[in-house]
């Protein structure tokens, strides 16, 4: 295949991949953020301590995270048809991607929010703030750098899942790799697709790190961050933060485009970090 032949195919496939990743990420953000916060709030000693809610929510998240994506996708076929009216194309792939991304992100949110110092919540309570105030003014803003890192991890995982979805009729780059690269032995095309996926993931990671860095105000968690290791730590300007935390622990794990392990083994486990 010539580059001229590949180009339009790549363009369409990229647009499809970005569409399904975007949709799934948006849903993950809208549903996973509240779910993750709620997991912390309803836990023992939480502001809204509630055993049953915590148990049920935790179970749902665990099931969602432990199902292999391919199984989730097949199991949701009817649901997908019901939501978007088809079981093919990027729109159809978006549904299981979103369903898979929500619990994935929710756990990362939970970990991030749990790391916020309980003393800060107490301070807000002492000022006469409500639970909602504590969430809005303390939990989310203080966890923001970690939340951004979690979102980065989620997007990268979704890119990986989307390739898998593509292989079974979901469109996008995965579909392209399957139909051309695998079925028709177009090795060059396959190489191009792989390179594009790698670049896409690297770009997401770089943007995520950048955003997390911009958000983490100085001094907070001087954990090891690859990007920043070589910077002199003594620079003290009013606006430029130099110490960042990209993930709850260490750098952001990078599941890569080949699809992450189904239970998100690359992701830091919550709670174990005290």
């Amino acid at each position: 295949m010539t580059w001229a032949e590949m180009q339009p195919l790549l363009l369409t496939a990229t647009r499809e991949t970005l569409s399904m990743v975007g949709t799934a990420t948006l849903v993950a953000l809208l549903a996973g953020l509240p779910a993750g916060v709620l997991l912390v709030l309803t836990d023992r000693g939480g502001l809204l301590q509630n055993r049953p809610v915590n148990r049920v929510l935790g179970a749902v998240v665990n099931v969602g995270r432990s199902l292999p994506f391919i199984v989730l996708m097949l199991a949701l076929t009817q649901f997908t048809k019901w939501v978007v009216g088809t079981s093919l194309g990027w729109q159809a792939a978006s549904v299981p991607l979103a369903v898979g991304a929500v619990p994935f992100f929710a756990r990362l949110v939970e970990t991030a929010v749990r790391e916020v110092d309980g003393g800060l919540v107490e301070a807000v309570q002492a000022m006469g703030g409500s639970t909602w105030t504590a969430v809005r003014k303390v939990l989310v803003p203080e966890a923001l750098p970690s939340l951004v890192a979690g979102l980065t991890t989620t997007v990268i995982a979704v890119v990986g899942y989307s390739a898998m979805a593509g292989a079974v009729g979901g469109g996008g780059l995965g579909n392209l790799a399957y139909t051309y690269g695998y079925m028709r032995f177009e090795t060059d095309f396959m190489t191009v697709i792989v390179v594009e996926l790698v670049l896409l993931v690297a770009l997401v990671q770089a943007l995520g790190d950048l955003a997390a860095r911009a958000l983490a105000h100085r001094g907070r968690g001087s954990g090891p961050v690859r990007l920043l290791r070589r910077r002199p730590a003594a620079v003290r300007t009013a606006r430029a933060p130099h110490a960042v935390r990209t993930a709850p622990r260490g750098g952001t794990p990078d599941p890569g485009p080949a699809g992450p392990s189904e239970d998100g083994g690359a992701v830091p486990e919550p709670a174990a970090s005290h």
């Binding site: 110092d117 301070a123 006469g128 003014k137």
Partner: protein
């Protein structure tokens, strides 16, 4: 200003009850600095946390500025609207400052004002005033991580004062600071207390904090207040543990038999008088000095001295009488011959 009546708090830890407060009656007058000391685990933190209901007491009442907070219950751990409103007039400073790292100093001070629903310009103005008050106007744009411990605590104090509270609670606010910084923070608290008429309830484990800023003090032990009152009165109370802690004379030495040991407390005016040499001269007593301590409490000097007189208690009635005539507080610590009997 702050009154607790028969305050009890029991925690349930793995099926066992832990009593943190065991009937505490606290009376803090308006405009005073009240210190609570006690060993670790005595229940001091639990007590302050009960005052603004961060911790809900198991029984008993808490009244702050005439409002009974224990009556303003919320459901479970959650605070109802009334309690949240009441908390806005009770400031609190924390040992570990509890500043939001994602906000600048100014924005940290503005947080309680946001909760109170003030508009932006008003918040800016108030925050500016408060930072002036604690001497940090030039740090408004800095982030907490760029401040020293003392500066962080000043921000904590400014934030606590944002709601114009009548009462300030402080749980070990200086425990994470070095002695120098501790002094400056205590001076700030004292100053705010005088200038704003602020009532301060502070928890500490350092006697120095009590002597340098407190008008009144309480000693806690095992969930109870074992001694309390105005500091000057406590120091003049024979056998007071707080007095002993403020003016330590050490353990009683295993002395000779046939000797009487006296602890003499002398208030400011008498500190300068040579009563020891007078006693020796006029009564021909060969006394030995076992220990002495002098402290400045509330701007006045007060001291204690432990002396030993030869002879049993009844043989020393005259010298003891003489000392008491001088306006000194005399506490006969041992009368060894009687002890032996």
């Amino acid at each position: 200003m702050i009154t607790t009546a028969d305050l009890r708090k029991t925690y349930r830890v793995r099926g066992r009850d832990v009593t943190a407060l065991d009937g505490v009656d606290l009376h803090v007058q308006e405009g005073e600095v009240y210190g609570v000391v006690g060993t670790s685990g005595a229940g001091k933190s639990t007590l302050v946390r009960c005052v603004n209901m961060l911790e809900r007491p198991t029984s008993g009442t808490v009244t702050v500025d005439g409002l009974e907070l224990t009556a303003l219950a919320g459901r479970g751990p959650r605070a109802g609207r009334g309690l949240r409103a009441a908390r806005r007039s009770i400031g609190m400073v924390f040992q570990h400052f509890n500043l939001l790292s994602s906000r600048t100093v100014r924005d940290n001070v503005e947080l309680p004002l946001e909760i109170m629903g003030l508009d932006r310009t008003e918040r800016r103005r108030r925050a500016g005033d408060l930072l002036d008050l604690v001497g940090l106007a030039d740090k408004a744009g800095a982030y907490p991580a760029q401040l020293s411990g003392g500066q962080k605590q000043r921000v904590g104090i400014a934030r606590a004062l944002a709601g114009d509270p009548k009462v300030l609670l402080s749980d070990e606010a200086t425990s994470a600071l070095d002695p120098e910084t501790t002094r400056s923070i205590l001076e700030l608290l004292r100053d705010l207390n005088r200038r704003l008429g602020l009532t301060v309830l502070l928890i500490t484990h350092e006697m120095d904090v009590i002597t340098s800023v407190c008008d009144s003090a309480a000693l806690m032990r095992g969930g109870r207040i074992t001694e309390s009152g105005r500091l000057a009165d406590l120091l003049a109370t024979p056998g007071s543990e707080l007095a002993r802690a403020v003016l330590p004379l050490g353990d009683l030495p295993a002395g000779r038999p046939d000797a009487t040991v006296l602890d003499i407390t002398f208030p400011g005016e008498t500190a300068a008088r040579p009563f020891v040499s007078q006693l020796a001269r006029t009564h021909h007593v060969d006394l030995s000095i076992l220990g002495a301590a002098v402290e400045t409490v509330g701007g006045r000097q007060i001291g204690r001295m432990r002396i030993e007189l030869p002879g049993r208690h009844d043989e020393n009635a005259v010298p003891i009488g003489y000392l008491r005539e001088q306006g000194l507080l005399v506490d006969v610590v041992t009368d060894r011959t009687e002890d032996a009997a």
